[in-house]
Every structure is written in structure tokens, then in C-alpha cells.
């Protein structure tokens, strides 16, 4: 049996979000739905394929400017730092609560807290800015 090239897939829509994927002699059923990014279900795994085409899903949490954002709707339970405070990578800077569970938010790197953008008790929406770190400092 000839082994087909890696990207040599035939994908046929079967309707209602179902897709037949054929790769050489291998046939599988996948499910997909296009939203802001495209959700794909294949053999028990779920993938979020971004429209940016390289397949890397968008991540919240922190961007390169040091802005920490809420990953999901949650209540701010505790804020452990204040502006001007030095933090190290991995420090729990605040605690969110969602679905009856505490979610510790850790600093992604060493730095100094530039501003705290939320208050304890506040309900934050996904993407909302929680905290800003100063410009890049240290690894």
C-alpha cells in the first residue's frame, strides 16, 4: 500500500457538522463547527483551529505586554499584590472563583506590578484585564 503524503486528505462534508476524512485507505468521521475559531472533533480529541491558519489557538491569560486577562467569567476572590510590588514567575497574584472552585492566577514572569485593574468581589468577563505588569524585565 502506498503511503499518502501527510497533507493528502480528502474531506467530504456529510451535513450537519459531520465530515468524512479519507487519508489513503483510512477513513474516519470528524465533526466540526466554525465559530470565531473552528472546533474540530476527531477520534475523541477536540481541537480549536484558529483562523490565523497556523492552527495555534488564541490564548488568553497573558500577552507580550504583560497584561493578565480573565480566562473565563469569574468572581475575583482575593488580590494578593498591589501596584509597585515586585513579583516572581509563578507567584499567585490573585485568586478567582468560578463554578465553586478557586483558580489561582500566577504571574507569568518576574516583574513589577504596574496596575491592578479589578477589585475583590468583582465579576469579571473573559478577556477583561485583571492586572498589568511593567515592561519586560528579567527572564
Amino acid at each position: 500500500m502506498s503511503s499518502p503524503a501527510d497533507d493528502d486528505f480528502e474531506v467530504v462534508p456529510l451535513g450537519n457538522g459531520r465530515y468524512q476524512v479519507t487519508h489513503g485507505a483510512t477513513r474516519r468521521i470528524a465533526f466540526a463547527v466554525a465559530a470565531r475559531d473552528t472546533w474540530v472533533f476527531l477520534d475523541g480529541r477536540v481541537y480549536l483551529v484558529s483562523d490565523t491558519a497556523d492552527g495555534t489557538p488564541r490564548r488568553s491569560s497573558v500577552d507580550e505586554h504583560g497584561t493578565l486577562t480573565a480566562p473565563m467569567p469569574a468572581t475575583v476572590l482575593a488580590i494578593n499584590v498591589e501596584a509597585g510590588q515586585r513579583v516572581e514567575r509563578g507567584d499567585v497574584v490573585m485568586v478567582l472563583e468560578a463554578m465553586k472552585m478557586e483558580l489561582p492566577i500566577r504571574s507569568p514572569r518576574n516583574g513589577v506590578v504596574k496596575a491592578v485593574r479589578c477589585q475583590a468581589g468583582e465579576l469579571v468577563q473573559p478577556g477583561a484585564t485583571l492586572l498589568e505588569l511593567d515592561e519586560r524585565e528579567g527572564p
Binding site: 474531506v11 463547527v33 474540530v40
Partner: protein
């Protein structure tokens, strides 16, 4: 004997759906209650009647005794099924139901009270001649007094909300160094979840199995057990996989534990469905078991018992509450085959089990032999941040454990849930794990193996998935999307048909 003409289901999600369906089978009308977050939820749409009980916050809706009682009055319900969680183990609620002439489908108020307090529960177990784990609730609840209690009980210790259950707010402290921080966190979570920061301090038994026995008692003095459920696959003390029978129990041990469970229930004056939880150290005839607590309600994992005993526990609860005698004696009951339950949670196993919220853009249940699905959601459901992340329970049954395991794996691989992340990929890896396959599990299994398992859960899409995504984007007007975007843009095809005949 006549049952209730109408039952109010004081819960949401999959358990509300389960109870509503049981009512329908029995010819009983069901009343759903819903918060504003659940106006379009599955349970709200399935019941014969539905009553709004308040805003999304559970404290003002599903946990509000006044709101539930007023919904019962408004809908003329004769009985209340509390499900699990929320008010199910709230003695004040059970008492308030009885005072207003509503039958509470559950145990007597005194039994909830007795078992709701861990101290009283232990006293009952000791009185019944059943061994218990060392522990105490300090009268002085200051941090220092709790720390002293931890030293008396001996490390490692477990700090639990005295009012709690379901593993919410439990914290482990292995030594002095982390003790004070653990006490503060346990207290915070206890207050948040139960409105009471009282803590119970207990010795942590290392590598224990969590094995529980299902009990049914009627109002005529009969109490039986329906064998065990093994619930050792837990994360942060929250169960993920349950099964029956347990691979740890020999027939002799099973018989001893079953008798102990019945003795605890009898001493507590128990009636209706309940669960006696034990920790088991070791396996086989020489294993030790300790009474842990009694849950005075239906359990999340009740389906595995139903699958191996053939007894419908929700029907039994309703029949018992209506005064009917149990339909079986102990000798009539047996375990047949094997059942495994997988809890599908709205959380991302690749991101420290972060809870997920969003819309189920695509949701298709597998249909195959030996698979039962107890779902609280359907395609298009909104998963909100306000409640427990349990979406669905998938229960696989077969003649043997290996057959049930194979069926569970096949079903999960054919169970697309898109729009939010779930723990399905983690469940698949757990089922495939050699230690799970061999039945070599304990309550520390997921903590010990979890990181290695999660490392295999890369979410980087393979070329095949990218090809499918490209096809789906090209195929942008897929039917699922069309319907969802119509709702998102406020043009709900169903609302706009109101008043029309469809």
C-alpha cells in the same frame, strides 16, 4: 397505592432531567424550577411545568428555601425531589417542606441532621459497631485550635467544611509548614460554598480506596443495601470515574461492609435512599475499612448501581416516600455484570482543569449497546459559570469490567462536544491507563498519574484536524451554525413562532 400527582424537582442539570424522566415514566407530573441562567436549560424545557425561582446566583435561586417552597405552592406540587447538592442535605429545607404539607423525597429530618454533622455521624457509626477514621471538629475554631487538632490527629491531615460534601473546599496539609495557609483556604471555600466556615480535621489515610454502599430503607422497618460503588478516581476529592463492583472487594469483605452499611443506616433511623461511604485500605479479605460519612441523598453516581442491580433508584425513592414497602429483601438483590460511570465536566484538562463556559455549538450523543447517557445539556445549551461543571454522565455496562471499559472508550471516541472544552480526552486516557485497566487504583491515582496523563493531551491540531477545519470554514453555512447564529442575533426561530401552530 397512589403516588403523588405532581412532584417539584428542586434542582437543575442532569439530575433534574433524570428525576423528571422518572416522574414521566410513573405517570407523575413534574415541575422544574429554574434561575434566570437556566431559562432555556434542558431540565426547564422537559418538565410539565416550570417555575422561575430567581437570579443566576444559587444562593438566590436553587439554594433559596423560600423560593422553592413558593414555587411548590404556585404549582400545587405535593412532593419535592431535591436531587443531589443544593438543598438535598439541608435539614431545614426538609423540615420546611414537611411543615407546609409537602413530602420531602428523602430521609427523615433527624437522619439528615444526624448525618449532616460529621461528629454525630461518627458517633452513630461507632454506636453501630463500625470503625471510623481518627478526626475531630474543634469547638474552638481559631486557626491555632485547628492547628492543634491537626497535630493531635496526626499528619497528613484533611481539612473539610463541617457542613460540606462532594469534596468541595477540602484541603490537605502534609506538614506544619503549609498548615496555616491550608486552614485559611479551607475556611474561605467553606464559607463560599456552604455559608459556614466550621472545619473538621481528619487523619488522611494514605492510598485508600473510596468504596461506598447504596442503601434503601422504607417506612416499614426494611433496610437493604445494593452493594458497592468504587469511586477512587478523584481529582481534588471530586469524583471522576465510578464503578461497580469494586475490584478491591472479596465476597467476604463485601458482605461485612454491606452489613456495616445497613447497621449504620438502621442506627440512624434512616429511610429512603442513602449512601454509606467507607475508606478501604488494602484489598481482599484482609483489607481494613473505615466509615467516612453517610450521604443522605441520591448520589451523582447512582446509575452504576442501577446498571448492576437492575433497580431504578429514583423510582424507588418516590415509591418509598409515598409509603410503599420495599419490593425486595436483601437476598433478592444481586450484582450482575459491571458498570463504569464517566463524569463529563466542562473543564479543560490541558489547563489545570480550568472550568469552561460557553455554548455547546455541536453536541451528539453516541448510541451503542451498553451505553447510558444521563445528560443535563443538549446541542445549543449554554454552560454558565454559576454552577457545578458536571455536564453529562456516560455509563458503560457489560458482562465484565473489560467489556464495560471497552464500551466506554468506544463511546467517548464517538462523542463530539464542541464549543467548550471538556475532560473527555482525559477520561479516554484514564480508561486506557494500564493501572486503571488492571483495577490497581486508589484515591491518589489521579494526583499521582494526572500530570503524565495530561502531558499526552496536546491540543495542537494534527494536519487531519486542520484539513477538517478548512472544510468546515468553507462550508460555513452548516446547519448547526445557521441555527446558532440566528439565536445569537436575537432572531430565535422558536420565539418568533410563538402563538403559531407548528
Amino acid at each position: 397505592m397512589t403516588l403523588f400527582p405532581r412532584i417539584l424537582v428542586a434542582n437543575r442539570g442532569e439530575i433534574a432531567v433524570r428525576v423528571i424522566r422518572a416522574c414521566r415514566e410513573m405517570g407523575i407530573e413534574s415541575v422544574a424550577v429554574y434561575s434566570d441562567a437556566d431559562a432555556r436549560a434542558l431540565h426547564t424545557s422537559l418538565a410539565d411545568l416550570a417555575v422561575r425561582i430567581g437570579p443566576p446566583a444559587a444562593a438566590e435561586s436553587y439554594l433559596s428555601i423560600d423560593a422553592i417552597l413558593s414555587a411548590a405552592r404556585q404549582s400545587d406540587a405535593k412532593a419535592v425531589h431535591p436531587g443531589y447538592g443544593f438543598l438535598s442535605e439541608n435539614a431545614d429545607f426538609a423540615a420546611a417542606c414537611e411543615q407546609t404539607g409537602l413530602t420531602f423525597i428523602g430521609p427523615p429530618v433527624e437522619a439528615i441532621d444526624g448525618m449532616g454533622s460529621k461528629i454525630a455521624a461518627r458517633r452513630i457509626a461507632v454506636q453501630a459497631g463500625v470503625p471510623v477514621v481518627p478526626g475531630e471538629t474543634p469547638v474552638d475554631q481559631s486557626d491555632e485550635a485547628i492547628a492543634d487538632a491537626a497535630r493531635r490527629v496526626g499528619f497528613p491531615v484533611l481539612l473539610k467544611p463541617s457542613e460540606g460534601g462532594g469534596g468541595i473546599g477540602m484541603k490537605t496539609a502534609r506538614d506544619e509548614e503549609v498548615l496555616i495557609a491550608a486552614i485559611a483556604q479551607a475556611r474561605r471555600e467553606a464559607v463560599a460554598a456552604f455559608g459556614d466556615g466550621t472545619l473538621y480535621v481528619e487523619r488522611l489515610i494514605e492510598r485508600p480506596r473510596h468504596v461506598e454502599f447504596q442503601i434503601l430503607g422504607d417506612h416499614h422497618g426494611q433496610i437493604v443495601h445494593l452493594f458497592e460503588r468504587e469511586c477512587s478516581i478523584q481529582r481534588r476529592h471530586q469524583k471522576v470515574i465510578e464503578e461497580s463492583p469494586s475490584t478491591a472487594l472479596s465476597p467476604a469483605l463485601r458482605q461485612r461492609m454491606g452489613a456495616a452499611a445497613v447497621a449504620v443506616a438502621r442506627t440512624a433511623g434512616y429511610r429512603n435512599a442513602g449512601t454509606v461511604e467507607f475508606l478501604v485500605e488494602g484489598s481482599g479479605d484482609s483489607a481494613q475499612f473505615y466509615f467516612l460519612e453517610m450521604n443522605t441523598r441520591l448520589q451523582v453516581e447512582h446509575p452504576v448501581t442501577e446498571q448492576v442491580t437492575g433497580v431504578d433508584l429514583v423510582r424507588a425513592q418516590i415509591a418509598i416516600a409515598a409509603g410503599q414497602p420495599l419490593a425486595w429483601r436483601q437476598d433478592d438483590l444481586s450484582q450482575r455484570g459491571h458498570a463504569i460511570e464517566l463524569r463529563v465536566y466542562a473543564e479543560d484538562p490541558t489547563q489545570h482543569d480550568l472550568p469552561q463556559a460557553g455554548t455547546l455549538l455541536l453536541y451528539r450523543e453516541p448510541s451503542m449497546p451498553g451505553i447510558r447517557i444521563d445528560a443535563g445539556v443538549t446541542e445549543g445549551s449554554e454552560v454558565a459559570v454559576h454552577y457545578d461543571p458536571l455536564l453529562v454522565k456516560l455509563i458503560a455496562s457489560g458482562e465484565t469490567r473489560e467489556i464495560a471499559r471497552g464500551r466506554a472508550l468506544a463511546a467517548l471516541r464517538d462523542y463530539p462536544i464542541l464549543g467548550i472544552r471538556t475532560n473527555v480526552p482525559l477520561l479516554i486516557e484514564l480508561l486506557k491507563h494500564p493501572r486503571f485497566a488492571a483495577g490497581d487504583i486508589d484515591t491518589g491515582f489521579l494526583d499521582a498519574e494526572g500530570d503524565a496523563i495530561r502531558a499526552r493531551l496536546s491540543s495542537t491540531p494534527p494536519p487531519e484536524a486542520r484539513a477538517v477545519a478548512a472544510a468546515a470554514r468553507a462550508d460555513g453555512a452548516s446547519s448547526a451554525m445557521t441555527r446558532r447564529s440566528a439565536i445569537a442575533s436575537g432572531v430565535d426561530p422558536w420565539s418568533s413562532l410563538k402563538g403559531a401552530r407548528v
